[in-house]
């Protein structure tokens, strides 16, 4: 498997490009995670690693092993699919916990329980008791 010397230089350049791209995106995501200040901003940075960060490394692996074994190696694509499909689970868990805490503390930066737009009749009607609406736990959602 580790016959890297047999690799044609053209393929090696392509593989190296994708590995560096994927690693670079993941690094930038981690750096953003460190540099950004609010929870809601920070949640966006690691998405770089779970989208093209993963995809580029998966592509590099598929190209490398397809070239080395002279057959199509595609099972890495499963890693990409499963990372993509499972990311929303953790993100929603963390995000909704933070949102719930901020709403319970009545933080003005997050929207209250009732979405602000006038398209919703109910939010017009409980204008009298906004505090009660904020304090209610949110039981809806996916």
């Amino acid at each position: 498997m580790s016959h890297a010397a047999d690799l044609p230089p053209g393929v090696a350049v392509v593989v190296a490009f994708f590995v560096v791209l994927g690693a670079g995106l993941t690094l930038v995501g981690s750096f953003g995670f460190y540099r950004l200040r609010s929870f809601y901003d920070r949640i966006h940075a690691p998405t770089l690693g779970t989208s093209w960060g993963t995809a580029a490394i998966v592509m590099a692996s598929m190209i490398l092993f397809s070239a080395l074994q002279s057959r199509l190696v595609v099972h890495e694509i499963l890693i990409g699919i499963f990372v993509t499909v499972t990311t929303p689970v953790t993100l929603m868990l963390l995000g909704r916990a933070a949102l719930y805490r901020d709403r319970a503390e009545r933080n003005p930066d997050v929207p209250a329980m009732d979405p602000p737009k006038g398209s919703l009749v109910a939010s017009r009607e409980d204008d009298g008791e906004p505090a009660a609406a904020v304090a209610q736990p949110d039981v809806s959602g996916p």
Partner: protein, 161 residues
Amino acid sequence: MSRIFPYPLMMASLVVVWLVLTSFSPGQLVVGVAVALLAGQGLAALHPVKPRLRRWDLIPKLVAIVLYDIVRSNIAVVSIILGGPRRVRRSGFVSIPLELRDPTGLAVLSVIVTSTPGTAWFDYNAARGVLLIHVFDLVDEEGWRELIKSRYEHLLMEIFE
């Protein structure tokens, strides 16, 4: 027939996954089919909602749009993170009233919103059908509403409803 194959699509993809992971051979095909049959029975015992796919032909279009958007927003988020405080960036929540009600369609939408850097799915009010997302670089709230609805929601509704 439907008792043995309660979820034909899921079971077929399990067989494919098994074969891809174990490098194709007749023996592995038998094992893969056995695993798929067992998993199908297990899943049937849970009685999940069976997704209905109305428009197969639109799925490649959706995948292409999403892949393109992910590339674009990767570039946008990288340039914001590395760009430093050169310009004032405002992030914030956007609530979007959705017409899409199909659970599978909503699940796909959540994967799309989450895997696109710069947008994160936070809350969905099932009673009102209002989605709450957080946008990393919020310039135009109405624009985001329009984008989610016209770019993804209509397509998902055509596929699933």
